[in-house]
């Protein structure tokens, strides 16, 4: 590749921040109030304590002054002891009060962070699937981790200390001016310029730091790709160009970091020099006054000491403001997700838009309505422009009770999308879907999803035991018997030879299974609850011939009395079903048995048999009159063909396969997290794209 440019920017959000929107930042931060409310007493208490502690720090110089001018000058050793005791008490008081402040807020703020995280998680689980399609999980994760951590730190620190510092500075200034206003003015002279310089600096520094962070993200992308794509890089001998791209980015990053360092060194120079100059001037002035007897030596010492005590409060304000700005951004990012309406609340809106929804009929459904039925269903992704062609258009399909229907179509024809409509992972744009005559949009989702079980194309296992993963598909009353039955249907006998049998932990943190193994567990999960309606998305793709045949035989029994929709890519899978529907250009263009469609539909024949010349094989079997069938369009209605029971012919096979059941050594298909979780910019966690090695390393048929 010429260059591997990396994109780790925010997807949708990219809200330009950092350009001083003080007002709106406050406004944004106020949204945190509901979470802070419950801990407000402790939070304000802590601020009060911090103010108190800071003031104690300011009293210490006064004690020194008293000691120098009083007991020390008088040689009064009792007074010296007394002064030292005061110092000790004030010091201990300061230390304990600061500790008390931390103790007051530590647990409550950890609680706020956790509560916000739990709310986010709860909300995310209930946002429409379309939302998740749009948002990479890394983006969501960075909101749940680094952003919330930032918010907790904001509540613990800048929020308190902006107040504390303001009070400290005010009191310090008053103390100094009261004692000697001319010296006070000299010492305070640089405070304002330093404050301004710090604020300006933080703003600029922030921008550069953000840029550096983005560049680190870019660099990370190149690193990840170069590791994940190592076979390609080595295979094509491209490591030199890859290294060049890397070096270019690393060099740019170095430039930005040096820029950062330059800013940093300038601010240090200012922060170090200006106050020192003021102290120097105060020293000269003070010395003269002391010599003239206008000022006591103790006051001079107290002055210099107070000046030191005030430096951190002044210097840190810029930093605290920058941190608050960050917190505002984090709050924005958090509520960006929290403000999305969850799945259920969309209902009314959609209903209104569609207007055609019928109330769920209460009585027993008419015979024609029984089974799973698509009525003129059109679907367009919610975020797609309204003038774009819909993914599915006017789909009519009727799967009779107990019937299984295969769904066939080219890659990208919308098969998976169609299956997602049934459990309402997506909502139809128009038209409706009925289960035994009940409009699914009128059913509560919970109920609908307990009626329909799905096995997805990408078999996801959760971090739990094998048994728990499978039983997820059943109600709470399901037990060992159901588990055993489901495992045997899915031919997942390998589970019994796992280290702890069906109690073996799998998923992200457990044993990694091969693609074929995961697929069988997903299938078991779909069938374990004996659902009335079953949706299988290419359920056997990762299995080898031998296993596939066995699964099919077992699945056939399950399918006998289940209404099922099965997405299929290969003839062997198609043959599981009673009938086949061909999805083409977003429409159902043909429905019939496998053999019928092979004969009558060239697109279907092409899909199932490959090249056109291969259909010569079928040409002999073709009825002379059936020749010039439509390739697509012309939706010949989905109802005219009947089932012809003997779809069974193609199942005995695979006896001599050279293989075991697709068990596999290096099954490394899980996401290897651990890389970029939470570097802040959202480099994301799902690093291992495209390396799902399903690896059923055995012969698989290419039946025609």
């Amino acid at each position: 590749m010429s260059t591997t440019r990396a994109i780790t920017k925010e997807p949708e959000t990219a809200n330009g921040d950092g350009n001083g929107r003080g007002h709106s930042a406050v406004h944004t931060l106020l949204r945190l109030w509901p979470y802070v409310r419950s801990v407000r007493v402790r939070l304000f208490g802590a601020a009060l304590v911090a103010v108190l502690a800071s003031c104690m720090g300011l009293v210490i110089p006064l004690v020194l002054k008293w000691m120098v001018d009083g007991p020390i000058a008088d040689g009064d050793s009792r007074g010296v002891w007394l002064g030292a005791l005061w110092l000790l008490l004030l010091g201990l008081g300061e230390a304990l009060l600061f500790g008390l402040r931390r103790w007051l807020v530590a647990r409550p703020l950890a609680g706020v962070e956790a509560a916000m995280r739990a709310d986010l998680y709860r909300r995310l689980q209930r946002l429409p699937v379309a939302f998740h399609d749009r948002w990479p999980s890394g983006q969501l994760l960075s909101r749940a981790t680094s952003d919330l951590m930032l918010l907790r730190m904001f509540l613990a620190f800048p929020l308190t200390f902006l107040l504390v510092n303001a009070v400290t500075i005010l009191i310090g200034v008053i103390i100094m001016l009261v004692q000697d206003w001319s010296l006070g003015l000299v010492i305070l002279g640089p405070a304002v310029p330093v404050l301004i310089v710090c604020i300006v600096f933080e703003r600029r520094y922030h921008l550069v730091a953000r840029r550096a962070q983005d560049q680190v993200g870019d660099l990370t992308t190149v690193v990840e790709e170069s590791v994940l794509g190592i076979r390609i890089i080595k295979g094509f001998g491209r490591h030199r160009s890859q290294a060049r791209a890397f070096h270019e980015l690393a060099r740019t990053l170095r430039g930005t970091e040096l820029h950062k360092a330059r800013l940093l060194s300038s601010i240090w120079a200012v922060i170090v020099t200006l106050p020192e100059l003021a102290i120097g001037a105060a020293l000269i002035l003070g010395t003269v006054q002391v010599a003239d007897g206008d000022l006591s030596a103790g006051t001079l010492v107290a002055f210099l000491s107070t000046a030191l005590a005030l430096r951190w409060p002044v210097d840190s304000i810029g930093f605290l403001l920058a941190m608050s700005q960050d917190a505002a951004t984090a709050t924005e990012r958090y509520f960006e997700v929290m403000d999305e309406p969850p799945e259920g609340t969309l209902e009314g809106v959609l209903e209104g838009a569609r207007g055609t929804a019928r109330p769920a009929p209460t009585g027993p459904a008419a015979e024609v309505d029984r089974g799973l039925r698509f009525h003129n269903v059109t679907f367009r992704y919610p975020d797609a422009p309204t003038d774009s062609p819909p993914v599915l258009a006017h789909v009519d399909l009727h799967i009779r009770p107990g019937e299984s229907m295969a769904l066939v179509g080219t890659t990208g024809s919308g098969k998976t999308t169609l299956t997602a409509l049934i459990p309402r992972l997506h909502e139809v744009t128009s038209g409706h879907i009925t289960l035994d005559g009940h409009d699914i949009s009128a059913l509560p989702r919970e109920q609908l999803r307990s009626l329909v079980a799905v096995a997805f194309e990408e078999p996801t296992l959760f971090s739990a035991t094998v048994g728990e993963n499978v039983l997820m598909g059943a109600g709470d009353d399901a037990g060992d018997a159901e588990l055993r039955r489901a495992l045997s249907v899915a031919q997942a006998d390998f589970t019994h030879s796992l280290p702890h049998g069906t109690d073996t932990q799998v998923g992200e943190q457990g044993l990694s299974l091969s693609g074929g193994q995961r697929q069988r567990l997903a299938l078991a999960r779909a069938v374990v609850g004996k659902p009335r309606f079953l949706v299988l998305d290419d359920p056997l793709s990762a299995l080898d011939v031998h296993t596939e045949a066995a699964v099919e035989a077992a699945l056939r029994r399950v399918l006998a009395d289940t209404t099922a929709l099965i997405v299929a890519h290969r003839p062997s899978t198609v043959l599981l079903a009673d009938r086949v529907a061909l999805l083409s250009g977003g429409r159902i263009t043909a429905v019939g048995t496998h053999h019928e469609l092979l004969r009558t539909n060239t697109e279907y024949a092409w899909l199932m048999a490959g090249a056109e010349e291969e259909t010569a094989l079928d040409a002999t079997a073709r009825a002379p009159g059936d020749e010039d069938d439509d390739t697509n369009g012309a939706a010949e209605s989905g109802t005219h063909t009947g089932t012809d029971g003997d779809a069974d012919s193609g199942t005995q096979r695979g006896t001599g396969a050279l293989t075991d059941d697709g068990r596999h050594g290096h099954a490394d298909a899980r996401t290897d997290t651990g890389a970029g979780t939470g570097t802040g910019t959202g480099t994301g966690t799902g690093t291992s794209n495209g390396s799902n090695s399903t690896s059923t390393d055995s012969f698989e048929e290419a039946a025609r």
């Binding site: 020390i72 490591h239 020099t273 030596a297 840190s316 970029g676």
Partner: protein, 629 residues
């Protein structure tokens, strides 16, 4: 004043917690646990870490020395201030009373000089230190990257991508944090402590003595804090890691979560993990609070003690007032940065651990090395572009033992298409990887037109042999960029020709921006099958003499597979091809079939001949035939 802390306030708690929290490496399959590569830290030779540091700093010895000198001078300038105060009070005041302005002017000039010098030197020091650390980081990043790229595939397969990525990201990041924020501060704090203690000792043995003595409780405090904090932080990162895993797992599996109504159960599970983390998080913050209280108590007690001592001495006239004033000013500076010290030490600790892991990685030697005196491939004299491949007495075993391919000989004439079939673990992929020189054979040699692969320069080898694998990884960039990996100097026209030949043109044209569609952007969603077609186009563009396909059609649908086969019989005609496939349809285009079992070739012949026989392949083929409708 040494630490204005614009960037680091007193530690509320550690910021870098997440950045450096790499998730615990996922538990590997049981057989991996004894493998040293199964662990995060590779066996590191003794002294490798120090050696790495030395070699990173060696090229900039001068600058490092300069930086150190700058810091020494800067601190001297900064710490001179209170001494001038002492001088002013004890000398300038009486002198001024005697109408001698000399000392006062001296103090003024001295203070002016010190202020300017400390500011200027600070500027210089920070820039110079940044240069050193950024150059070292650049060097280190480059080294890790190049080294990871140079390491052979067997290493990558065992060490896993996740570990390798966190070595070059999270670990470098924790070093960067130390270098950027921590190290300068740490050095400054240490140096100022040394300067101030020395000055105090010189001013007054008693005051200085207390300062030095206070080091003991501080040291104990820091030590105990680090021990306890280390434990608490480890617990906390485990807790947050569990939260993250649950979170990511839910979001990535949102469809099954929804379809199987897991929301409530997940809420409960997440709540438990989240609460656990909340507790650990609170523990960590409280640990820090405890440390801060402790260090402040020590510091403030020491200050009181020193003032008491000093005041007594002044009151008894054995110490001058100015010296006490100077001491008081010093004390503030002495203990100010103590709070932050704990945090710096934390980041120091994690950076050390990271550096150690990195040096362990860099200590690995690639098992496949480029030749020192490369040879050229002979000019192709025949009309077809393929080359002859000979496995000459080849045996392959992993370094950890375990023979994969027992000794064998095999000759593939130029231009032949060879299908390799066999079950899992039969050694098909190993054979392919040996031919692509991803591994070197344990014994014997592999010859390409008579030249040992090990004698070929990398670029020459890659013109000769190209391998397309099942996992068709796409790099960020456009589709065209991805195809052009095959031959970076190819023009758009050639890229499109390759895509057309493999049947990928149609879907690419249908993408939002055609060939310029960014594969990582939304709208550029490319299915597994389409990725494989792009990978094929890439190989086609590379135009190799020998093409290896390792299950490269596994995700294609039937029409896609046909297109690939057509391309192989037209565009790739005449190439030597090794095809590993699990679909027998692929085998049909082969001139020759090798059936492998337990690392051995058990059958070898033209497909028709094998089918006619009674062997494994014949059985399999018969079963497949019967399954056809």
């Amino acid at each position: 004043m040494t630490a204005p802390t614009t960037t680091a306030p007193t530690p509320d708690d550690e910021q870098p917690a997440l950045a450096t929290t790499s998730l615990p490496a996922p538990a590997r399959a049981p057989e991996d646990t004894d493998d040293p590569f199964g662990q995060d830290a590779l066996p590191t030779p003794k002294g490798a870490t120090a050696g790495l540091l030395r070699s990173l700093l060696a090229p900039m010895k001068g600058r490092v020395a300069l930086t150190v000198v700058l810091l020494l001078l800067q601190q001297a300038a900064v710490q001179a201030g209170p001494l001038l105060v002492a001088y002013a009070i004890d000398r300038a005041v009486p002198a001024f009373r005697d109408h001698d302005n000399g000392p006062l002017v001296a103090v003024g000039l001295g203070y002016l000089f010190c202020a300017l010098a400390s500011g200027g030197l600070q500027y210089w020091f920070v820039s110079s230190a940044a240069r050193v650390s950024q150059d070292a980081l650049l060097d280190l990043r480059g080294r890790i990257f190049r080294h990871a790229q140079a390491l052979s595939l067997d290493f990558h397969e065992r060490y896993t991508s996740g570990r390798l990525i966190s070595r070059s990201t999270a670990d470098v990041e924790s070093l960067r944090e130390l270098l950027n924020d921590g190290l300068q501060e740490l050095a400054t704090v240490a140096l100022s402590f040394a300067y101030i203690s020395a000055t105090l000792l010189w001013l007054d043995l008693g005051i200085g003595g207390v300062a030095v003595a206070s080091l003991v409780p501080l040291y104990l405090l820091i030590r105990s804090y680090r021990r306890r904090a280390g434990r608490v932080y480890a617990l906390r990162s485990t807790a947050i890691a569990a939260v993250i895993v649950k979170f990511v797992e839910t979001m990535n599996g949102i469809r099954p979560v929804r379809a199987f109504r897991r929301e409530a159960a997940n809420d409960a599970e997440f709540e438990a993990l989240n609460r656990h983390h909340e507790r650990k998080n609170g523990d960590a913050i409280l640990e820090m609070a405890r440390y801060v209280v402790g260090s402040r108590v020590v510091a403030n007690t020491a200050v009181a003690a020193m003032v008491l001592w000093g005041a007594h001495r002044v009151a008894a006239d054995s110490l001058e007032l100015g010296v006490l004033a100077a001491a008081v000013l010093y004390l503030r500076r002495l203990y100010d940065p103590i709070d932050r010290l704990g945090m710096f030490l934390n980041s120091y600790q994690s950076a050390t651990a990271s550096l150690e892991k990195i040096s362990g990685l860099l200590a690995q030697t690639p098992s496949v090395q480029e030749p020192s005196a490369p040879r050229e491939l002979p000019v192709r004299e025949s009309e077809h572009p393929g080359r002859e491949v000979v496995f000459d007495g080849v045996r392959f075993a992993y370094r950890t033992g375990g023979e994969v391919l027992p000794r064998f000989d095999l000759a593939l004439p130029a231009g032949q298409t060879v299908a390799v079939v066999g079950s899992t673990g039969a050694g098909k992929s190993t054979l392919a990887k040996l031919l692509a020189r991803f591994y070197d054979p344990t014994e014997g040699r592999i010859l390409l037109d008579g030249v040992d692969l090990r004698d070929l320069a990398n670029s020459e080898l890659r013109r000769g042999v190209v391998m397309v694998t099942q996992e068709a990884f796409l790099f960020s960039g456009s589709v065209a960029d991805n195809i052009a990996i095959g031959r970076p100097d190819a023009g758009r026209e050639e890229i499109e020709r390759a895509a057309k030949a493999i049947g990928a043109h149609d879907f690419i044209s249908a993408l939002p921006e055609g060939y310029d569609t960014d594969v990582r952007k939304r709208g550029g969603r490319i299915s597994a099958g389409q990725r494989q077609l792009v990978a094929f186009a890439r190989a086609l563009l590379a135009d190799p003499a020998v093409l290896i396909l390792d299950e490269a059609t596994s995700s294609l649908d039937i029409p896609g597979e046909r297109a690939v086969q057509r391309a192989m019989s037209t565009v790739l005609n005449g190439r030597t091809a090794v095809v590993i496939a699990h679909r027998l349809s692929t085998v049909e285009i082969a001139d020759r079939v090798l059936v492998m079992e337990h690392g051995r070739v058990v059958e070898d012949g033209p497909p028709a001949e094998l089918v006619a026989g009674t062997g494994r392949f014949a059985q399999l083929h018969r079963a497949w035939r019967e399954s056809l409708v």
